[in-house]
Symmetry: C2
Subunit: 487 residues, 2 copies
């Protein structure tokens, strides 16, 4: 753990981010181009995130499974848009067991093709539907510019893949998962998100529609935090995923796929952290409370430690805590270390606290101190964790709202994207050419097209349907869409 | 789920095994040579196993992390024995992002080399030791003959990798992990194991010593169920993993690595199952109890289901149960299905049980039926699960003991390995040539060399030190070793 100063956000946001990732020992560069090492401090966050999300995925009826890492090259080529999107990004295995392979194998960039080949075998009848499967796995996409957690050649993710009897059910699943991701981002990660549909330019290669949740980072940029795809029958036709309906007629299935990845750890860091280091919402923190006993003599040490030992009883099973009783380190040094690592609460316990049967509870985010009585410890900790979780969400939402505005002219839009940084609600005619032109000229893309009143979901805080003119071509438009520069 | 008959064990053990794996939908063949698909029923067992073992690994002070899937070819070549053992088994990535790579990448067959490259960077001082890291990951070894779960080109495993300041500490870690694996196999999987050291022929490529746990399957063959390697300073020297001691002198670290894999699912199946399907020990069963309500009219159905609904309250949070209230399937068909899937206990609840405020509890292994009173349900289920777990272990140990004998002459040994099938305790002089000769002539290899009184661990049920003559060369020997044919 290095306590060299972290580059301030204001000075260099990218460097600030990398300083936190490396100094808090969340991840490290590996000797393999574009691949990262997730260190124990970072992996513990992933495990926390994974456990919570896995519970939500299972509670909605999905079961986990595991499919091969390798995909025959011919599989990737079966769906026309899919191969175009993914083939150029693949890592290719050409040799195995000392011999050249007859058919090269792709390291999975995503598992639609290999999974649906199996689905075609498993699904025979309408009674086999819906098939609701999720996989936790590593995937590889050959990236040119990488950044720890946010964009790496190999990353960890979950990918859900379902098959349904009707278009209606597939759309319902796609939306239900998007709503699950929203809840996860907002309630667990304390990261507010806009949700909606992706434009044609930004949708998944092979999907009918892609929906996403979009978060704002502290530099005003957007981070796509999860996607849910309605695949229609595109893959079902390519892989012959069919079922016999109640009248013995063969029908193609309707499918969905959806995923979130280790990039969410990057989102957590960039949404909440400050110039002293990582800030984690309590529900995503592997350790929620660190207890720092303070002493200046051996006698004091033993008295304080046995007092701490009595206090900890209240916390057992209630909160994940750690006691930092290391010798030879000053309390101030320890405070800085645990702040860097993002532990939400700190309890300082010294000889004077022992005398008064109390302790001092300090919040990581605000550094607010609260003197509490010993017997109130468990209650005070629980209350602080709840408040802190809620406050982080509110602060992130206020930040996002302060950096989101409605813009009506292209001139203002260009100035905003050049000089300020944030989201803009602006009109778009719906044509890909217009999005491409704006992206080329301003680096901003359409993050999401908000849901409309006729859709299954709503996009809270989005402007409703409204007449206007496309930013780029001035054609009439009936809806504002969300623009931003993105990670 | 197919209820076609399973090939009896006696008729064809291999086919019996594959029938259970495929008919209980635990795994399936994939279109990629040697790679399997772990289906939801099989993956749920892996998750159960993983959760328990992960808890044990963490409780002993290790932390999880994640390292890259790819390893530069030059890394594998740095440790002389390691490259010899693993290079021929590797899958090689030669192209990425549409271009040929300057240096080919190996898909990890095991992660010593990539991890220790990072350890060399992270470890500077004796204060950084011990470094105790574990990884859950997929690995790839190009296998010629594969079998679902037991030997597949890609498999899932955990690999622990530690670095220590002294040889003593590394040896202690190696043994402590082996003992943890023994406890896991015996107490959780109900599979008795012999533990000890591997011969030079069988040790890990690059290790000083390899220790293993060895289980017996129902065909009398051995299955290596976990290994723990003392790596000495072999890798530390190859990768410059060094620390400064308290006198500022640079020292090479002492290292260990250890792992268990999805092959344990194969061990579970082959140790306990029968001709009706899978038998799972309760502690490894994702679902421990299935409740089958029985009715023959709509009126009965609603009465029985509300009775079941009242009963389930007792089980909540105590046991993982499932209620099979599917229409249009006879109870007998359901029983067969849940027996095939290995659910440890079945509760049959019909109109007569409702009348008497009772139910019938049936054990999967013995099919023993027990009529219980409604208010005793939770207690009876808990007691049955405990007994069943203990009985499965006892039965497996009795089987192993009945198929293990001491043999003194090579003639008898050859006959035993040809006609019977099981373990043999026999003398060995310690020379690799003798082991190789016996292996070539009988297909039996040394499964383990039992611990000696001077070692840290003991091998229960193993014969103690004793004078004798090597099976193959008749030279004097001071110890019997365990021989067997293996998976």
């Amino acid at each position: 753990m290095s306590q060299d100063a972290i580059t301030p956000r204001e000075k260099d946001f990218s460097q600030w981010y990398l300083d936190i990732v490396t100094k808090a020992e969340l991840a490290d560069y590996s000797p393999v181009r574009g691949c990262m090492v997730i260190r124990p401090n970072g992996y513990a966050i992933w495990e926390r995130l994974q456990r919570t999300l896995d519970g939500m995925i299972k509670a909605s009826g999905h079961r986990n499974a595991y499919f091969p890492l390798f995909i025959p090259e011919s599989f990737i080529r079966k769906e026309a848009e899919h191969v175009e999107g993914f083939a150029p990004e693949c890592a290719v295995v050409t040799h195995g067991g000392g011999k050249q392979l007859e058919e090269p194998l792709m390291v999975r960039p995503t598992s639609e093709t290999i999974m649906y080949h199996m689905y075609a075998k498993w699904i025979q009848s309408y009674r086999d539907l819906p098939l609701l499967i999720n996989q936790w796995a590593n995937v590889v996409r050959w990236e040119m510019r990488t950044r720890l957690f946010l964009r790496t050649t190999e990353f960890l993710w979950q990918e859900g893949h379902t098959a349904h009897a009707t278009a209606e059910e597939a759309e319902e699943e796609t939306c239900q998962i998007l709503e699950m991701y929203r809840r996860f981002a907002e309630e667990e990660m304390a990261v507010p998100v806009f949700m909606g549909r992706k434009s044609e330019n930004e949708k998944f290669a092979g999907a009918l529609h892609t929906y996403s949740i979009e978060a704002m980072m502290q530099d005003g940029k957007a981070l796509q935090a999860g996607t849910s795809h309605n695949l229609g029958q595109n893959f079902a036709r390519a892989f012959e995923v069919k079922y016999q309906d109640e009248n013995q007629a063969w029908q193609y299935c309707w499918q969905t796929s959806w995923g979130v990845s280790t990039r969410l750890i990057g989102a957590l860091i960039m949404a909440h952290s400050d110039d002293r280091g990582l800030v984690l919402p309590p529900r995503m923190a592997p350790t929620q409370l660190v207890i720092v006993p303070i002493w200046s003599s051996d006698e004091q040490k033993s008295a304080v430690l046995s007092y701490v030992d009595a206090l900890r009883g209240q916390l057992e099973g209630q909160v994940d805590y750690h006691i930092d009783d290391r010798d030879q380190l000053r309390p101030g040094w320890k405070y800085a270390e645990w702040e860097l690592r993002g532990i939400p609460l700190r309890l300082e316990v010294g000889p004077r606290d022992l005398e008064k049967r109390g302790a001092v509870l300090v919040r990581r985010d605000t550094r607010e101190k609260q003197t509490i009585a010993a017997e109130q410890l468990a209650k005070a900790v629980a209350a602080s964790l709840t408040t802190l979780q809620r406050d982080l969400f509110a602060r992130a939402r206020d930040f996002r709202d302060a950096h989101t505005r409605s813009i009506d002219t292209y001139e203002e839009f260009r100035r905003y994207m050049r000089e300020a940084s944030g989201f803009a609600w602006a009109h778009w005619c719906g044509r890909p050419e217009c999005e491409t032109r704006v992206a080329q000229e301003t680096k901003a893309t359409i993050r999401t097209v908000p849901f409309r009143p006729s859709d299954r979901l709503t996009t809270p805080d989005a402007p409703g349907p409204e007449e206007g003119h496309c930013l780029a071509c001035a054609a009439t438009s009936s809806q504002r869409v969300l623009w931003g520069k993105s990670y």
